[in-house]
């Protein structure tokens, strides 16, 4: 960042994009959420706190069909069909009415999964300016 010189225009605070990082807890495990808020869409990257990898990526957006409130979703990297990422992206897209990219790289079971979702949704609700 210090190497700005010559005819380079210095970087400035981004008006269009904002980003945020948070460490949350779900029962015994901790996880890291990185969020990038863009124009009309949001990207979430979720990892275990100890090691962050980018394995999966899914996208979901509200349907243009007025007859249905169900969002459409797809896995675009690291998996096929319905994945944890695409399920979460669809839920968030439905809740907030905007496009969500989600990279969920946690191994969730039926015990930790609901705890994780509750922790994430509560945090997003309390810090909505970072997400929607």
């Amino acid at each position: 960042m210090d190497g700005v010189n010559g005819d380079l225009v210095p970087a400035k605070e981004s008006d269009l994009f904002t980003s945020h990082c948070a460490h949350l807890e779900a029962g015994p495990s901790q996880f890291t959420v990185r969020a990038l808020k863009m124009l009309g869409s949001t990207m979430l990257i979720v990892n275990p706190k100890e090691s962050e990898a980018f394995e999966e990526l899914a996208v979901a957006m509200p349907s243009r069909n007025p007859a249905t409130s169900e969002p459409i979703s797809s896995t675009i990297l690291g998996g096929h069909g319905q994945t944890d990422s695409s399920v979460l992206a669809a839920k968030l897209s439905k809740r907030y009415g905007r496009q969500f990219y989600v990279s969920l790289n946690l191994k969730l079971d039926r015990l930790v999964g609901p705890l994780f979702e509750k922790s994430l949704v509560t945090y997003m609700h309390d810090h909505l300016e970072h997400f929607a």
Binding site: V9, A11, R34, Y101
Partner: protein, 141 residues
């Protein structure tokens, strides 16, 4: 990137800033994950598509054009061997050429194995790509 003096700006990635590239406002986000790098470069306010780019040779065995010869002479041109997969959005030759150019000209070639790139450029031509490569090289890598 210089934070505002009164209130340090929080960012959630290794790099996240806005910069003018050849007069075009450009958003850049970079983060190095354990298994791959993540880079967004867009002038459209959103991510129009994603490419997953895999290096065909190991990092230490790559011939990096701008370190090894006169890359501006077509006769001696070499490229860093990569394989690109378009995961989302329109897959065009122009975008693929832009990605290959950025890999050849910036620290992207130091990436260990693969990276995910969200690229949204309004204009893809020599002057704009050279300006973008300079910004990436000096402010990200």
């Amino acid at each position: 990137m210089t934070p505002a003096p009164d209130k340090p700006r929080e960012i959630g990635f290794d790099r996240q800033f806005s910069v003018d590239v050849n007069g075009v406002p450009t958003e850049i986000v970079f983060h190095g994950f354990a298994n791959k790098w993540f880079l967004v470069v867009t002038q459209l306010g959103k991510i129009p598509g994603f490419y997953n780019v895999h290096f065909d040779v190991k990092r230490d065995e790559r011939v990096v054009p701008y370190l090894h010869g006169p890359v501006d002479n077509p006769e001696f041109h070499v490229s860093v061997p990569i394989t690109m997969n378009c995961c989302l959005g329109l897959d065009t030759d122009e975008t693929r050429s832009a990605i290959q150019f950025l890999v050849n000209r910036t620290g992207l070639h130091k990436c260990p194995t693969e990276f995910v790139l969200g690229l949204g450029l309004k204009v893809i031509d020599g002057p704009h790509l050279r300006a973008l490569a300079k910004v990436l090289q000096e402010m990200v890598f």
